[in-house]
């Protein structure tokens, strides 16, 4: 019973966090690679960024602040406003403390 309650709590937390993000992981990956990775790659002027660059909490805080380029511009001036939630979802889902077990191929 105790375990069931804990499990329920985990599911509720996960569901709540996903609902809060409300975006598409698939589209987020696409927009991240298409837009963000245009600059944030090794050897380019901007620092390399991957989902592993921050924890889930750090990504959430980053998007809550909504700033880009050390606060000099708004994030939705770089990523289209309708794409921000998708990118956030992708980055949070694959953050450095995300529970993403490795798989075989795929």
């Amino acid at each position: 019973m105790r375990n069931s309650l804990k499990l329920f709590a985990v599911i509720a937390t996960l569901s709540a966090s996903l609902a809060a993000q409300g975006g598409s992981d698939t589209k987020g990956k696409f927009f991240f690679k298409k837009t963000c990775k245009a600059c944030h790659t090794p050897g380019s002027a901007a620092k390399e960024i991957t989902p592993l660059s921050k924890t889930q909490a750090q990504w959430k805080a980053y998007f809550a602040a909504g700033k880009h380029k050390k606060g000099s511009e708004k994030i939705d001036s770089v990523i289209k406003p309708e794409q921000v939630k998708d990118v956030q979802t992708f980055l949070v889902n694959h953050a450095s403390d995300s529970p993403q077990p490795e798989t075989c191929g795929g």
Binding site: L7, I11, K27, L52, P101, C104, G106
Partner: protein
Amino acid sequence: MGTIRMDRRLFLKSAGATAGAVAATQVGCLKYFKKGRSSAAETKEIPTTCELCPNKCSAIAVVEGGFVKKLNPNPENPKSRDMLCARGNAAIKQVYDPDRLKQPMIRVGARGEGKWKPVSWDEAFDFAAKKLSDVKGKYGPEASLWSSTEGFQEVFFKNLGLAFGSPNLVRHPTLCLASVNLAYSATFGTVPSFDLLNSKFVIMSGANRFESIITPDTMDLIGGVMERKAKLVYLDPRFTVTAAKADEWYPIKPGTDLAFILAMIHVIIAENRHSKDFVAAYTTGFDQLAEHVKQYTPEWAEKETEIPAKDITRIAREFADAGARALYYAGRRSSWYQNDFQMRRAQAILNAIVGNWDQMGGMVPNAKLPKGEFLFMPWDEPKAPRVDEVQKEFPLAAASDGVYLKLRENVLSGKPYPVKAWMVYKQDPMNSLPDQSKTLKMIEQMDFIGVIDVQMSDMAWYADVVFPESAYLERTDPVEVMPGIWPAVVYRQQVVKPIHDTKPNLEIIQGLAKRLGLGDYFDYTIEQWVDAEFKDLPIPMAAEHMKKHGVWAATGQPSYGKTLTPDHRFVTKTGKIEIFSERLQEAGYDPLPVYTAPVQPPGDRFRLILGRVGYFTHANQSNNVWLHEFMKENDLWINPKPAERMGIRDGAYVTVTSSVGSVKLKARVTEEIRPDCVFMLHGFGKKSKMQSLVYNVGASDAVILETAWDKVSGNAAFHETFVKVANA
């Protein structure tokens, strides 16, 4: 005619086969030797990547007059080096197999009756698209199931399922190694490689590495053992080839490996032999572990495992003394017991406390190499939840792989919703899932089944339409990065044109997508896809290099210790190696591995255990004519004591019966197995008459295996079935 015979002999001789053995099955292929082969035929050597197993070895195809004459290893790949195994060599016979699928076919008889109508690709696409659309219209896109196994072109199949709107992609890991993957991911945030080449002390639990897969790292270990560089301790209820080569073999009581590992941890901590600096710097939860394992003494473990306490203690000391160069090897197929995840977690923890992480001869996080990516148009996320309810039942498992057996249970029950269409790529659920009668029931309740495969697998045999995929030697695939101690990028390019009316998977997917109104998501060619991947390879003239060499590997020696820095963050909740796992605890699981004794078979029954040999990949290739020469039929290993008691003679037929089915096969009466177990090999007793060499030959373990799974990962538990054995 004389010229033809001469060519065949030359071909067979060069490929290392015996002409007599192969001649009987060559008749259907004669026409391919009739044209274009002369002494002046142009010879080309084309590098490519093997697909006969998941190891992805580099090969060089020798092509003469448009035919694959021989496959050689490509030494430029550090993972496969100068080696191509029996399966790799036999890939030629996948192309020239008279049994292979040669054109699309639509079923005209009852499912499984074997009556087919050859059709054009357009007819096959139209038929499948209409059936899929009908199911979608009636039940929604989530009523379709998309099953696939690892492969370079798998991505296209999965993408069609997702673009179609189904959340129900289900892959092979929960039939294979999901428990290892989840256990190591939960502990280290990644699944490392095992540096067998440089290890000094290796323990293997049932991982029959010298027999079940023969690759260069197998040879590394063999070399190590033979030259006395490495000590190998091997636990297995069977005396396998690995047992024969090991320094010590213990016929452990099945299902008790966790007790052995916990007792080892007990000894190492009690005697203060763990790596204190490493534990302090990189791990979390050691104190809880120390308290937790006090109960697991070697004397206690002796009663569970039947391994003497003094040996457990000595092995633990030797393992700790080898320290960074000691390895508890994880194994490749970890679908054994319902506690499999916790057993693998205990292995991971044992490895962690001796400080072998990121060390020469220890466990090494996989180095990766960059490659480009083709960005395709994304689709809307499927709206329905998964039918297997992974997020509710297995919250820590890899949701994108699904949990196969729970999925089958839910599909059979129709809850939480009906599933009525089943698309399958490169997978044979008829043989890879336990309890074949349940799989047959699942098949019965489908309105539509479509299978994409090179051969007429048992699953294809029960399909409504089969789409013949070109063999790997006939097609070009996406580029693949092989992470590892020696990472490499490999390229599979077309070696010969398809000899039958087959297509690469991408073109099959595009044909379906176009008719399903999803063509825009697949509006690219394999060349565009591959070119995008070549683009970011950090080598000059990448495309030219890959086409010429088939592989690119970073030069130099492996670099160890990159993650052993104060600021390194492991991809775990705490950023440390998690000996005690809060995430497991929060999900309702044991945060440290807890031992529960396995249920033992009653006196009149045996535990059925399974295994693999290096000739076949799971249930595949037993119909490959060259590999079939190595093993023509499977048998049942049984110890002489119970055999004598029951009057079972070596070589006589026996029936093997579980609660779900019964099979008949020959007995192998041998001392090389414990008296409480019986063993049979996977991949025989096929139902497909287009697997002519193994159709109804031997027996399929899937018929008698019962349904059970590991509680945390959902991995199938294939060693939990008890069987009765009797003379047939």
